[in-house]
Symmetry: C2
Subunit: 161 residues, 2 copies
């Protein structure tokens, strides 16, 4: 066990004695565990709503875009709404739901990590700031008393059922 | 554009005028954009270090585990260290680096989202608490003045080069 690991409490301490098949991380990744799904969510956060824009900006085929948008709609991260431009047939756009918006810390966390480790010179091409005060935005791990929580300070316990 | 989207500032406001190929989110997903890579990182956070344990606990074949561990080692999220048990040949274990540890907010964010939306009754089977004070742990988006930042309050700007 590394010193950097979380603390596995009580019956979880012996990793060989429990299985991970109900792990919320694994469950989440069943929904957004592909690169294209995450990038579609990024685009939704950027304000993209239309099918063609998702496919073009994510850089995926129309078939892949259609499959991913269907999955994300079926799972309730996006919802499909009709719109009509003058003289055109009815089309659909994809809008964020609360469930979709709630994934933002994950995608912003990828932004922060990618900006630090996968950008030339560690300088990402875009920056994220807070509209109200102009200071940079970060994704942080906090407890409900608002302490910063490093990984070794995280205790994983079996929930009381 | 939805009301839930971030604010694209200045030259970024017209999404059709810029491309996303240097986006840090996309760059990050080139490294950890597979379900198995994310789950291997989860296991590393849980303290797993040995090849067989990664494969078994993630539920992937040895071939996939070997490929992912090699990628994560090549990319510097894990590092391979030799160990030897009495009477056995030298083997290798995988330990977290700072780069690997820095991805924790993303994986903990998936835990929180999956716990809320993909667990029976919205109750995840395990809970995360802070060792020091015992209160639940959350992944939050904050600015450097420590304001909570909702998605519509995030301003995306081109970085000064």
């Amino acid at each position: 066990m590394t010193n950097d690991a979380v603390t596995l409490a009580g019956p979880l301490a012996d990793r060989r004695a429990w299985r991970t098949d109900r792990c919320p991380i694994g469950k989440a990744l069943e929904v957004v565990g592909t690169r294209s799904a995450m990038l579609i969510m990024r685009e939704a956060y950027y304000g993209t709503t239309r099918f063609d824009d998702f496919a073009t900006r994510v850089g995926i085929s129309e078939a892949v875009a259609a499959a991913r948008l269907r999955e994300l709609t079926d799972e309730g991260l996006l919802e499909r709404q009709p719109y009509q431009e003058a003289g055109q047939r009815t089309r659909y756009e994809y809008r964020l739901t609360e469930k979709g918006t709630d994934l933002a810390p994950v995608v912003l966390g990828l932004f922060e990590w990618g900006g630090k480790y996968a950008s030339p010179g560690g300088r990402p091409p875009v920056t994220l700031t807070h509209a109200e005060c102009g200071t940079p935005v970060h994704v942080t791990v906090r407890c409900e008393r608002d302490h910063h929580v490093a990984l070794p300070e995280v205790v994983v316990s079996a929930a009381r059922r």
